[in-house]
């Protein structure tokens, strides 16, 4: 272990707490309070890494976020962090880091040979060099050479959170100005002040001050802030983005600064979304380097950083320190250092005139001065040894006189100060050029934001900066502007010679400011050099607009907990546990976890599908069809709306009947199909495609709300209120008949495309006879909570008939055999109804419907449109896949493609559907099907290849009918013994959350609420007379938007205009429903019991608001969201109704199918509670 340097007595590091750490395999010692950078400097490590392009040696150059030189690979394994800035990594016991972009080590890097190629690697060399034959051929090589750290390849064992916070005032930066601003605004106790600071401890530049008065002031301010209940100080939080409407993004290091040993219950980082009333930027200022030959050598640092390392970390960085400056701040720093016993040899200043007082004090301190000089060269390998200086000409445009050599081991440079206005610029604020300080200051604000302190250009002492953008009279080749990306003044001049005018273009061409630096030190110098090269002033050149992030954000923080199973919201089927018990293979489909098929032991997926398909054709199958979209349309104009929305004529649809319907968008493109059921003259039920419910609902609402505002119609998505099962096959009727109910299932009484509602096993039921399999099918819906019981009842009742559960893949095979269209699979973004054979029917239609006008546009009349067809492969054993092309006559281009293809267990051969040019007129034609280099002959046929006459739908039989041609297929597997099983008389209600349904943590709890019942009341709110009538009828004023109101033991919650939820104590639901229906009789009001279709969760505990804020962006403060409020909002990616229920409790209502998702999600984000 090396001995580290003795610290100065006034250092802020704790020398009583030594820490050991490793850098590049060597063990060193530092102290608590050190950063990795200060500890490396203390141990004399001068080269930490290598630059990006030319692998030049790089050491610590600054003390904060602007240091893009000392980049390290922090730790190894899964915790590892690439490109960590040594100046920002607080030292902890056992830290292990490695220098980056060097091989074998930063001290001795073989790739440094690239430096010799510098002449041939100028700005834009990528664009000039790697164009032949193709950039692709070079990319691998370039990526290997020009790399930074390595991202860990294994999953991150830590976790990250995202959270929203609201504040009336947000102060960014807890330096002097920020602390003052926070205290001043906190005078108003109702004003929530959020004070964020990016450093390990608050204080900003005060931390670098040796003045005891500054330290006392800081301590007393922090004390006062701690006593202010309305100020929240968030340390280790870097504000990275300033977005529209005062929304800010900040990254907080929660466990990250403690290293891999941090408590694993705490997140590594929290990514904050901050909603601010107004913002105060107290972000300080960044010092600029000076641009002169060989200014990138290790041992050359920013003067302000030298000050910070000296006084905050107590380091004496050199024995012969030389300053090089163009402003007064470096003089103050030098004098302060001498006063604390740190030797300063000389100050070189480009200015001819400096305040006599400064000169006098410098001389008194034994500091040599060289006014009107510039550094023209530096020497030293690994460490700085000498600087060469020369006098500038009077006009500053050249050099004169002899060169002088100064011995030194540290050069502290100051090229002036730039207010840190990245966030101001991101907010849309314009920057203004201030000539006297040669810096950009806030100009015109675009949002409610102000800058204070040095961020506003208010420097504590006047700077008297004189521009010195580069050193004249010497080659600009080795005058570095962006140290990390190896951009020189010559590169910028080259860009100007090549006619780049816009600063944004120059930035991209030269990559100046595009490195890790992101313009923090290089931006203004680059502007200055471009201005000189193009003979313009800096305001004429303009400035680049800063974009988020100000500082890199970990990808893990962007992801939060949305990983793996929580990647996106999922919905669970009502009978999920039954499927899991049967060994279902699940697939994510339209957000639902659905069984694809139920493979038995030793069965492949294909075998399972074949068995299930044959069981449906031969006996009976049972499918969980709950995701089938179900929309209820109520109102006097309901029929009119549907007639306008569907291609079909629905004016004649009688009550109790169902009709297939096709829905288009206004462009005439087929977007959905389904079955429309007429429940009553003014009440319809739409069955949309699975997963299409939300988009069809949205389309109906958009037309109703935006175009046909006078239509009196209520549309309600009831998809998740009902569990729906499809019982399909010749024995379906026999199975269903075993359940007690009041619906006559006889073939004559209940024909195909008819609908009945009644009761089944004691619960309300809706049964539709439609068929997506070609077999007699009953689509049976019961309240979602009874789904699991109904599944069990049907399985029990069907056992003796060989009932076979089948999955969605088997359903797809069944419908492909029948040639039934699946919108989205067999249609594309151009498919119009005439392509599906609907042209004739539409021609006879008299009413207009959405999309009709577009069908008559020229594009709709093209005979070569892709049309829906069956495709039969000619070779007996041939198979194909969806996506295979159908070739045009000359065999050279595509004339359509296969959209659905599978092996048909019924026919014993492949069946396929597709869309092919002009196919409707080409039935019987032989075509070629192309896939992956293979061409197969096929015939265009009618889509339906099993039972084209549809006789099986009429089957009333208790005996299975043979399917022609009879396949050589096994009989359905032997049914389970059934005699002992008992079909229930009453369907039981099941919990929406299988297994554990609560979370119990120290400061957060979640449980399933069963103490109340829910009723939904809807009215047509655009009828303005309705609300007063409703109030009169109920004798109670319903809550206004966002309100919750109590009516005795009832609790009303507003959910949308004309839409309320009523929570009543358990057991009072039926009475309450009757009361509402009686009161609103004759009014356009619909009351529906929804207890069974919702999940009601109670969330409470001291940190409940933290957990909620990790899923939603509402302001949850009791003053803004109290007991008389409620909100429908986005939580955990889904729509929920949230209502405070007193103290630290909240009621959360959502679709029942989301119960498991919500519980799992809350569990993941409450790990630290």
């Amino acid at each position: 272990m090396k001995r580290s340097r003795q610290r100065l007595p006034h250092a802020r590091v704790d020398t009583g707490q030594p820490l050991t750490f490793q850098f590049d395999g060597e063990t060193f010692r530092g102290y608590a309070g050190d950063t990795l950078a200060s500890a490396l400097l203390a141990n004399g490590v001068s080269i930490v890494g290598r630059s990006f392009k030319l692998h030049r040696p790089r050491g610590v150059f600054a003390a904060g976020r602007e240091d893009a030189n000392a980049l390290v690979q922090l730790e190894s394994g899964t915790w590892s962090e690439p490109n960590a800035r040594a100046a920002l990594v607080p030292l902890y016991q056992g830290l292990v880091a490695k220098g980056q972009n060097a091989w074998p080590s930063p001290d001795w890097d073989l790739l440094a040979a690239l430096g010799l190629l510098k002449k041939v690697l100028p700005a834009g060399f990528y664009y000039k060099t790697f164009i032949w034959p193709n950039w692709k051929n070079w990319e691998g090589l370039v990526r290997r050479l020009a790399g930074l750290g390595r991202a860990p390849s294994a999953p991150d064992p830590q976790y990250y959170l995202k959270q929203t916070v609201h504040a009336e005032v947000v102060v960014v930066g807890a330096g002097r100005a920020g602390l003052e601003a926070a205290l001043a605004t906190a005078q108003d106790p109702a004003c929530r002040v959020l004070l964020l600071d990016e450093q390990e401890e608050p204080g900003g530049a005060l931390l670098a001050s040796p003045d005891p008065a500054d330290r006392t002031w800081l301590a007393s301010m922090l004390e006062r802030i701690a006593q202010c209940p309305n100020i929240t100080l968030m340390p280790r939080s870097s504000v990275n983005g300033y977005h529209d409407h005062n929304v800010l993004a900040a990254l907080q290091r929660v466990g990250s600064h403690l290293g891999p040993q941090a408590d694993s219950a705490a997140p590594r980082e929290i990514f904050w979304r901050i909603c601010a009333g107004r913002v105060v930027l107290a972000t300080g200022a960044l010092e600029r380097p000076l641009v002169f030959p060989h200014n990138d050598r290790p041992g050359i640092m920013l003067a302000g950083a030298v000050r910070e390392y000296t006084h905050r970390y107590g380091l004496t960085l050199g024995e012969r320190i030389v300053f090089f400056a163009n402003n007064d701040s470096a003089w103050h720093t030098a004098l302060e250092m001498v006063a604390h016993g740190v030797p300063v040899t000389a100050i070189i200043d480009v200015r001819l005139g400096v305040a006599p007082e400064l000169l006098r004090r410098a001389t008194a301190a034994g500091i040599e001065d060289r006014l009107g000089y510039s550094v023209v060269h530096t020497r030293g390998r690994g460490a700085l040894r000498q600087v060469l200086i020369q006098r500038l000409t009077e006009d500053g445009g050249g050099l004169q006189g002899p060169r002088e050599t100064l011995d030194c081991d540290l050069l502290a440079m100051s090229g002036g100060w730039t207010p840190t206005l990245h966030l101001y610029s991101q907010s849309g604020g314009k920057l203004a050029w201030r000539e006297e300080d040669t810096c950009l200051v806030p100009g015109t604000a675009n949002q409610a934001v102000t800058a204070v302190g040095r961020a506003n250009g208010d420097f504590p002492q006047p700077l008297h900066t004189q521009a010195h953008w580069l050193t004249p009279g010497v080659s600009s080749d080795c005058q570095w502007v962006d140290f990390q990306y190896d951009v020189t003044a010559a590169d910028i001049q080259l860009a100007a010679r090549e006619n780049y005018v816009s600063v944004e273009h120059v930035k991209r061409y030269t990559t100046n400011g595009m490195s890790v630096d992101q313009g923090k030190t290089s931006n203004v110098n680059g502007l200055g050099i471009l201005a000189l090269a193009t003979n313009r002033s800096i305001p004429e050149v303009g400035t680049t607009r800063f974009r988020p992030p100000y500082h890199p954000v970990t990808i893990g923080a962007w992801a939060g907990v949305e990983l793996g199973a929580l990647y996106q919201p999922f919905q669970r089927l009502p009978a999920h546990t039954c499927h899991a018990a049967l060994g279902a293979q699940f697939v994510d489909m339209g957000g639902w976890q659905r069984p694809e098929c139920y493979p038995r032991a030793g069965e492949s997926e294909q075998q399972a599908i074949a068995r299930e398909v044959l069981a449906v054709r031969g006996a009976v199958g049972l499918l969980d069809y709950s995701p089938l979209g179900k929309l209820e349309v109520h109102g006097p104009d309901a029929r009119e709306l549907l007639n306008r929305m569907y291609v079909n004529n629905l004016a004649t649809l009688p009550v109790g009947a169902a009709r297939y319907g096709l829905m288009l968008n206004e462009q005439g493109i087929v977007v959905d199909d389904g079955v429309v059921v007429c429940l009553a003259e003014d009440h319809f039920l739409l069955h949309t495609t699975s997963g299409g419910a939300a988009s069809v609902h949205r389309a109906l609402e958009e037309w109703l709300q935006c175009e046909w505002v006078a239509l009196r119609v209520l549309v309600t998505n009831v998809t998740t209120q009902w569990a729906t099962f499809m019982l399909s096959g010749p024995r379906a009727r026999a199975v269903l008949a075993q359940l007690s109910g009041d619906i006559d299932l006889g073939g004559d009484a209940f024909a195909h495309m008819q609908f009945r509602s009644g009761s089944l096993c004691g619960v309300p039921v809706r049964i539709l006879r439609a068929s997506f399999t070609g077999e007699v099918s009953f689509e049976i819906s019961v309240p979602a909570a009874c789904g699991e019981s109904l599944w069990e009842a049907l399985m029990t009742a069907g056992a003796s008939h060989g009932v076979t559960p089948f999955g969605i893949e088997s359903l797809m095979v069944l419908r492909t055999e029948k040639g039934f269209l699946h919108v989205g699979s067999d249609t594309d973004g151009n498919t119009m109804p005439q392509d599906l054979g609907w042209g004739g029917a539409i021609a006879k239609q008299s009413v207009d419907f959405i999309g009709r006008r577009s069908l008559t546009l020229e594009v709709g009349q093209d005979p070569e449109r892709l049309q829906f067809t069956g495709i039969a492969l000619l070779e007996e054993s041939a198979t194909t896949v969806s996506g295979a092309h159908v070739l045009s006559g000359d065999g050279k281009s595509s004339a359509g493609y296969v959209t659905s293809a599978c092996f048909s267990p019924t026919l014993g051969r492949a069946v396929a559907l597709g869309i092919v040019a002009g196919a409707r007129a080409r039935v019987g034609e032989i075509v070629s099907v192309y896939y992956e280099g293979k061409i197969q002959p096929a015939r265009l046929v009618a889509p339906c290849q099993v039972d084209p006459a549809g006789t099986r739908l009429q089957a009333d039989a208790t005996t299975p009918q043979p399917v022609a041609p009879q396949p050589a297929a096994p009989q359905p597997a032997a049914p389970q013994p059934a005699a002992s099983l008992h079909v229930p008389q009453i369907l039981a209600v099941c919990s929406p959350m299988a297994g554990t349904n609560s979370i119990t943590r120290k400061e957060f709890r979640l449980r399933h609420e069963t103490a109340c019942e829910l009723i939904r009341l809807q009215v047509f709110h655009r009828d303005r007379a309705l609300l007063p009538a409703l109030t009169a009828a109920l004798g109670f004023e319903l809550p206004a938007p966002g309100e919750a109101r109590r009516q005795g033991s009832w609790r009303w919650l507003w959910s949308a205009p004309g839409d309320w939820l009523l929570a009543v104590p358990a057991g009072e639901g039926s009475a309450a429903l009757k009361t509402l229906r009686d009161a609103t009789a004759g009014m356009w009001a619909v009351a529906t019991p929804i207890t069974d279709s919702q999940v009601m969760l109670v969330l409470d505990g001291a940190r409940v608001r933290d957990v909620l804020a990790r899923g939603c962006a509402l302001d949850l403060h009791p003053a803004h969201f109290g007991g008389d409020r409620c909100a429908v909002t986005r939580f955990a990616g889904v729509s929920v109704l949230l209502a405070p229920s007193g103290g630290d409790g909240f009621l959360l209502l959502a679709c029942r199918s989301l119960a498991v998702w919500l519980r799992d999600w809350c569990e993941a984000v409450s790990r630290d509670c």
Binding site: G428, V709, D848, A1113, S1135
Partner: protein, 97 residues
């Protein structure tokens, strides 16, 4: 971005869906020429400055409403129900395309 829903108040942008330009009159399908119909379907303004859009509070009350937004400053100048008339608003940028 924060958006003011006329019913629910100020909410975070991720609760909303943008439905594109608002105040587009639907021509009478029977009498509109092909060109008029195509313009209604596809042609939209792209102003630099004041722009009227239709937004849906998808994760909230499910209502469509109009938003008048400055495409330069991104400031929202008004949000109003679908049935309300288009408000008179100053266009700071002159509305050039």
């Amino acid at each position: 971005m924060r958006i003011e829903c006329p019913w629910c108040g100020s909410r975070s942008e991720d609760e909303f869906v943008c439905g594109g330009q608002s105040h587009i009159a639907r021509p009478e399908p029977a009498t509109a020429s092909d060109a008029e119909w195509a313009a209604y379907l596809y042609q939209r303004d792209n102003p630099k400055g004041l722009h009227h859009e239709r937004w849906l509070h998808r994760f909230g009350c499910g209502q469509w409403f109009n938003v008048a937004r400055d495409t330069v400053s991104h400031n929202i100048l008004a949000s109003y129900p679908m049935t309300a008339p288009k408000p008179e608003l100053p266009d700071a940028n002159g509305g050039e395309a």
